[in-house]
């Protein structure tokens, strides 16, 4: 039992943070919002150079063969920087799904062999459709899309073969699309039964990714408010010296701080294939979402009127928090999933401290 991140994991976090602080500043974000694609190939390949895009992939696919627990701090950093790239969709949802499928050989293996090394090298992004989400995120920059046919089967389709319709949304950085396409025998990856299992696993990984990003977003929202409250003066003193302001921010910090170990546990459970990994993810998503929402609400209130303007950067993180809360399962859905499991389990003997670690009893 050890809750420490090791040196390599911390160093990886630091290098991701350094890159994002340099290349993903608020000015860069605003420039990207105004652009057609909203994405930066330079930023994406920078992250790939650090190993981020191939982190979970096997070495045979050009990856590092590492696990979610090695990735979680970098995901937190991507939230802190409000990174617009499809990390969750590509790195957590789609690429590992392809890799899982490839083990069975056939078409999926050749698709994986072709595309996964490009993902690892930062030369391709992936998009993925899922019933939990009404739109496909970042389909416009994805070279390959994993799409669901009406019969529930899963297909891999190149971007050139689909027609995208952009669906405007609140977060200026997000790019959401509906996709028109025709399934063919050559695009089939998995029939409905097999696809469901794969999509469930992808859903858990993606929900975990959002949870980790929400930690970074929540902390950034608090940090922005702390900075502002330390500078803004009213009644002749910094507003951050008033208890009403302090108490708001302390409450938000409590929420973020206690979501943190829950997200880290989910990372561990995904990495080790824990039988309750999905429930651990749901708890992580529910708590991190709520923490980020509280931080958003608090940060806006502390900023006052200036926080309600386009000019101040606050809304970038606030809107991201709102968006992520509802994507890959809303926090209420995840609480419900956990509630069903906990109620069904209550008559059983309690497992070790409810930590539900492997191999107890």
């Amino acid at each position: 039992m050890d809750f420490h991140f090791n040196e390599e994991q911390l160093m990886f976090r630091d290098s991701v943070r350094a890159l994002l602080e340099r290349d993903c500043t608020a000015d860069v974000l605003r420039e990207l919002w105004a652009g057609e694609s909203g994405r930066s190939d330079g930023l994406w390949s920078g992250l790939a150079e650090l190993g981020l895009t191939g982190l979970l992939l096997a070495e045979e696919h050009g990856g590092l063969g590492m696990a979610e627990v090695d990735l979680v701090l970098a995901l937190e950093e991507s939230g802190r920087a409000c990174l617009p790239e499809p990390l969750v969709e590509t790195v957590l949802a789609a690429a590992p799904l392809l890799e899982t499928l490839a083990a069975g050989g056939g078409t999926p293996a050749s698709v994986a062999d072709k595309w996964l090394p490009l993902v690892a090298a930062g030369e391709a992004r992936l998009a993925i459709e899922h019933p939990a989400n009404p739109c496909v995120a970042d389909a416009h920059v994805a070279e390959l899309l994993l799409l669901l046919a009406d019969d529930g089967s899963l297909h891999a389709v190149a971007r050139a073969q689909v027609e995208l319709t952009r669906q405007p949304c609140n977060d200026a950085a997000r790019r959401l699309f509906t996709v028109d396409w025709k399934p063919g025998d050559d695009s089939l990856l998995a029939k409905a039964a097999g696809a469901t299992r794969l999509l469930d696993a992808a859903f858990d990984r993606a929900a975990f990714g959002c949870a980790a990003q929400q930690l970074g977003i929540g902390q950034k929202l608090i940090d922005l408010a702390v900075d502002y409250a330390g500078q803004r003066e009213q009644f002749g003193r910094a507003i951050g010296s008033f208890q009403a302001v302090k108490h708001h921010l302390a409450t938000a910090q409590v929420a973020v701080e206690f979501a943190r170990p829950v997200v880290y546990r989910a990372a561990c459970s995904l990495a080790t294939g824990h039988t309750d990994a999905g429930l651990h993810v749901s708890q992580a998503k529910a708590m991190a979402d709520e923490a980020a929402l509280l931080a958003a609400r608090t940060s806006l209130q502390v900023h006052g009127g200036i926080g309600y303007t386009w000019e101040v950067d606050l809304h970038a993180w606030m809107k991201r928090a709102w968006a992520l809360e509802m994507t890959w399962g809303g926090s209420a859905w995840h609480r419900g999933r956990l509630a069903d499991a906990v109620l069904a389990d209550i008559d059983n003997k309690p497992r070790e401290g409810q930590l539900q670690l492997q191999g107890v009893n």
Binding site: M1, D2, F3, H4, F5, N6, Q9, V69, I222, V226, A229, G230, R237, A238, G240, S241, F242, Q243, V245, K246, H247, L249, A250, T251, Q253, V254, E257, F258, A259, R260, P261, V262, Y264, R265, A267, C268, S269, T272, Q283, A286, M287, A332, R335, L338, A339, V342, L343, I346, P350, E352, G353, Q354, L355, L357, Q358, G359, V360
Partner: protein, 388 residues
């Protein structure tokens, strides 16, 4: 990061479980805040110590097993799972004990820790005064040096367990010209010393869990000073760190409450139907108890790795006290009109001890430093907001 238990930790758990199963009293002891209950709880402490379970994380020479904080958490989990009695000496073993380890001389450790572990000395806490509550630095009780003794005059209040305890740990002002946090000293005083008068305070539940303690020219030998003269604030903050941050409220306690709450929801479907938000409130409590457990394992890992508990203990205190209250409020709502019944009421049915728990939980955001004070500390020392 590895969130699995080692083979040794599993074996430790099995051993603790077996001993507790064989030794935990079959019937609940009377409340520790009654004379008879206090004595019964003291006896239980003695028994725990005979089994070597009084404080597993202490060194063997002081009555412990020399295991680390992870094992202490495992023991706590088993302790609550077994439904074992509350720890009447919690002020001693969880608060003063770790402080003695950090600041005590070898003589002091040898003198106080084994007797503490054995339940021979049960400890009370004496920090607050009538005019020094949230503003603890306003302490006015004095302890002036006279030869190899201090002479103590003044009054402490809200001294938990003081009605029947043997010793009390206090902070007194030793420098008459000092102000605020400076000039305070941390001292250990027997409650039967000449000039000490203990007056019980009746709580809102009618019991006497705390007391006022008056000091009238009480002579305290200098070897009962803990830490340096004038360094009492620092020593006290170390105790407060343990109180708010780790030991006083181990996660197993809240996980047990959360499990009971889920069972209460299952057994009261009509209440859950009447107010559909109750199910959600229950699962929130369950999630928080689990989060608190994970956070505590994280803190324990940090301490084992050489870290310490700092101002983040304030976040912990806010979290566990508000979680506990929220869970009990939810239980009250699930019980509906039966919530006001005492367990002894014939019509009570399965209300159990939720009412007791609810009233106790209400004290959580007040004791160990009010949550308003904790929020100030967190905002200033963790977030870096300017002092008011």
């Amino acid at each position: 990061m590895d969130l699995d238990y080692t083979k040794e930790q599993r074996a430790f758990r099995a051993e603790a479980r077996e001993w507790l199963k064989a030794n935990v009293p079959g019937q609940a002891l009377p409340s520790m805040d009654t004379e008879q209950g206090f004595a019964a709880h003291r006896e239980w402490e003695t028994k725990l110590n005979e089994g070597g379970w009084a404080m597993v994380s202490w060194p063997v020479e002081y009555g412990g097993r020399g295991v680390d904080l992870i094992e202490w958490l495992i023991f706590e989990e088993e302790y609550y799972r077994a439904g074992a009695p509350g720890r009447v000496n919690q002020n001693g073993i969880f608060l003063l004990g770790p402080t003695l380890m950090e600041y005590g001389s070898d003589e002091q450790k040898a003198r106080f820790l084994p007797r503490m572990a054995a339940g021979i000395d049960v400890w009370a806490q004496g920090w607050s005064e009538p005019n020094a509550g949230s503003d603890m630095a306003a302490i006015r009780t004095t302890a002036f040096r006279d030869g190899d003794q201090y002479v103590v005059n003044g009054q402490k209040t809200w001294c938990s367990r003081a009605v029947w305890a043997d010793w009390i740990f206090c902070i007194f002002r030793t420098d008459p010209d000092s102000e605020r946090h400076r000039g305070l000293s941390f001292m250990l005083v027997p409650l039967d010393a000449e000039g000490v008068q203990v007056r019980a305070i009746e709580q809102l539940d009618g019991e006497t869990g705390f007391a006022e303690v008056f000091f009238d020219n009480v002579r305290v030998p200098v070897d009962q000073l803990l830490g340096e003269e004038g360094g009492g604030w620092k020593v006290a903050m170390s105790t407060a760190g343990f109180e708010r941050g780790l030991m006083l409220r181990s996660p197993a306690r809240y996980q047990a409450t959360a499990r009971k709450l889920v069972a209460l929801l299952r057994d009261n479907p009509e209440a859950a139907q009447r107010d559909p938000t109750l199910g959600d409130r229950v699962i929130r409590g369950w999630m928080q108890a689990e989060a608190y457990a994970l956070q505590t394992y994280r803190t324990a890992s940090r301490i084992i790795g050489g870290g310490s508990i700092g101002a983040e203990s304030s976040l912990n205190k806010i979290f566990w006290s508000e979680m506990d209250l929220a869970m009990h409020e939810t239980a009250m709502a699930l019980l509906g009109p039966r919530a006001e019944l005492l367990p002894t009421a014939r019509a009570a049915g399965d209300v159990g001890d939720w009412l007791d728990g609810f009233q106790f939980a209400l004290a959580g955001p007040i004791y160990a430093g009010t949550n308003e004070i904790q929020r100030n500390i967190a905002a200033e020392r963790l977030l870096g907001l300017p002092r008011g």
